[in-house]
Amino acid sequence: MDFPKEEGDSSKTIAYMELAIEQAKDALNCLEVPVGCVIVEDGKVVASGRNRTTETRNATRHAEMEAIDVLLEQWQSNGLSISEVAKKFSNCTLYVTCEPCIMCAAALSIIGIKEVYYGCPNDKFGGCGSILSLHSSSFQPLSGFSFFVP
């Protein structure tokens, strides 16, 4: 099942993806590769991220890695244990403008995120089916959507 079943779900998905695109635009304005994402838990956006590879000179600072770091620090500073953190991630959904690369797909699998919705596929190094399939069966890539940042 690739698409949300109900109308309401679908419009929410688009609303979250629009927030991810806002992040990507922010990256573009900062001369970064324009990719952005948000992480949603129980219908609430709990973290956002965008590419920071140029600024940090660290080519691993993709949007997803930035957003994951926000949650890891926030949850643990609130006193959550490792197992509680893992449980929260397993209840989170990622909305990202571009198919996660092989590194990020592996990272998302390691932290055990519930679902990933992505905009455009990544035919050079996509890790959710385009080049390698690193996502587990619980992943639901929404490949029917194509979003483009102007």
């Binding site: 590879t53 140029t54 940090t56 000179r57 660290n58 080519a59 691993t60 890695m65 994951i68 770091d69 890891l72 620090e73 643990q76 500073s77 244990s81 490792i82 197992s83 953190v85 893992a86 690369c101 092989i102 590194m103 797909a105 592996a106 990272a107 699998s109 390691i110 932290i111 055990g112 035919d123 050079k124 190094f125 890790g127 080049i131 390698l132 690193l134």
Partner: protein
């Protein structure tokens, strides 16, 4: 140490899994014996109507000496023999016309699907149908072998990684050492920090974390940055060691029992490779700082069209040297240093073969060569489970080597004894 020298070996891990020369994949084609006088006409026509697009290594024509009378027999490949759900397809109309016009008797033949990568493979291929063979030309040092001097350098950097792999509590982690081989200098290093993330320090100091590890490695470097011999041969002793290398079991992070006495946060993604990459990026920003105004001048262009312009590199380098000559040199800097684009030209030494996340991170950071000592059978991405170095679609490719050395056996044994990994 020298007593074990003959057991050290650096083995190249190729892009494709090794296949026995006589087990190479094949495809079926239709071929036919032809009259020698028709050879030119037929080949020209066949190349138009049925080009062998993905079989450029296969020769279109085969010459065979007949046993009786020593006459030479020529056969040509007509077209691919395509089998679909309805069974074997016939010839395309154009090919069928040729068959009729020249009264050919087609038969099925097998040819090798991929170009040979070695002389042994090529000799086997030609037993089926002749192919051409171009010995591979490599542009990454070491693929065709290491000089004694280079091999010693590889071994000594690998020993540093193994020393770094031993954590304070006696467990064995994965460790990474990034090296600029052109000047034999350690650029950065790191060990797994999955259970020892200093989140607030990351923020406060701009991510400059693995100072302690870097210093301990540097203490074995002489003033020129060249690796010196370790103080003694002993690296890791096998007693009471637990293998905790993150890349071996990346999904196990949440299973570790909470340790109240541990003041650090956990971070399931802070594998040694990512820690070392972060450290090398910190070093880059420290050594080549740019203000907002001249950011454009300092940034290496993303596209290669400008990236290899020597004039631009030179300019960037001079600006750096002139701008910094009054400030004290850090221990990292060396005169005339040109700011590299990420880790272009650098090598990384790892105790264990990296997982997919780390292997792809090294693609992103443009590492040139990866050396690892131990395979990662359940999660390794450089030959064990995946083979990222063979993914042609990626925008960067590194060469991968496995380093065999006696010191590694200690880790293997301790790992087996401790928790059945390896």
């Amino acid at each position: 140490m020298d007593a074990h020298r003959d057991t050290c070996q650096i083995v190249y891990i190729p892009d494709k899994p090794p296949v026995a020369p006589d087990q190479q994949p094949t495809v079926n084609v239709f071929a036919s014996v032809i009259e020698p006088k028709h050879a030119n006409t037929l080949i020209r026509r066949l190349n138009q109507i049925a080009p062998l697009e993905n079989l450029r290594h296969v020769k279109r024509i085969q010459k065979k000496k007949q046993a009786e009378g020593g006459k030479t027999e020529l056969s040509v490949i007509l077209c691919l023999a395509i089998v679909d759900e309805k069974g074997l397809n016939g010839f395309p109309v154009d090919v069928q016309e040729l068959v009729n016009a020249y009264n050919l008797s087609p038969f099925m033949a097998q040819v090798c699907k991929y170009a040979a990568t070695s002389k042994e493979e090529w000799e086997e291929q030609c037993k089926l149908w002749p192919t051409s063979f171009h010995p591979p030309t490599y542009n990454i040092d070491g693929i065709t072998g290491f000089s004694e001097e280079d091999a010693q350098s590889v071994l000594s950097f690998m020993k540093m990684a193994m020393k770094l792999a031993k954590s304070g509590d006696g467990s064995i982690l994965n460790a990474a050492v990034i090296v600029d081989p052109s000047v034999q200098q350690i650029i950065a290093s790191g060990q797994d920090q999955v259970f020892s993330w200093h989140a607030s320090r990351t923020k406060a100091s701009g991510g400059n974390i693995p100072v302690r590890q870097s210093e301990s490695v540097r203490s074995y470097s002489d003033s020129n940055g060249a690796p010196a011999a370790l103080p003694n041969g002993s690296l890791i002793t096998p007693e009471n060691l637990l293998v905790e290398a993150s890349c071996l079991k990346p999904w196990q992070w949440s299973k570790k029992p909470s340790d109240i006495s541990n003041p650090c946060y956990s971070h399931p993604l802070r594998h040694a490779v990512l820690v070392a990459i972060e450290s090398s990026a910190d070093r880059d920003r420290r050594l080549f700082p740019c203000s907002e105004d001249n950011e454009q001048n300092c940034l290496e262009p993303m596209e290669s069209s400008c990236a290899d312009s020597p004039a631009k590199r030179q300019k960037t380098s001079l600006e750096y040297v002139e701008g910094k000559h009054s400030s004290p040199q850090t221990e990292d800097s060396y005169p005339g240093a040109v700011r590299p684009y990420l880790c272009t030209g650098y090598d990384i030494y790892l105790v264990w073969e990296p997982c997919a996340m780390c292997a792809m991170a090294l693609v992103h950071q443009r590492i040139r060569r990866i050396f690892y000592a131990l395979p990662n059978p359940n999660a390794g991405a450089l030959g064990s489970v995946h083979r990222l170095q063979g993914e042609k679609s990626l925008n960067h490719h590194y060469a991968v080597f496995r380093v065999f050395m006696p010191e590694v056996l200690d880790i293997v044994e301790s790992g087996k004894a401790a928790n059945g990994i390896c």
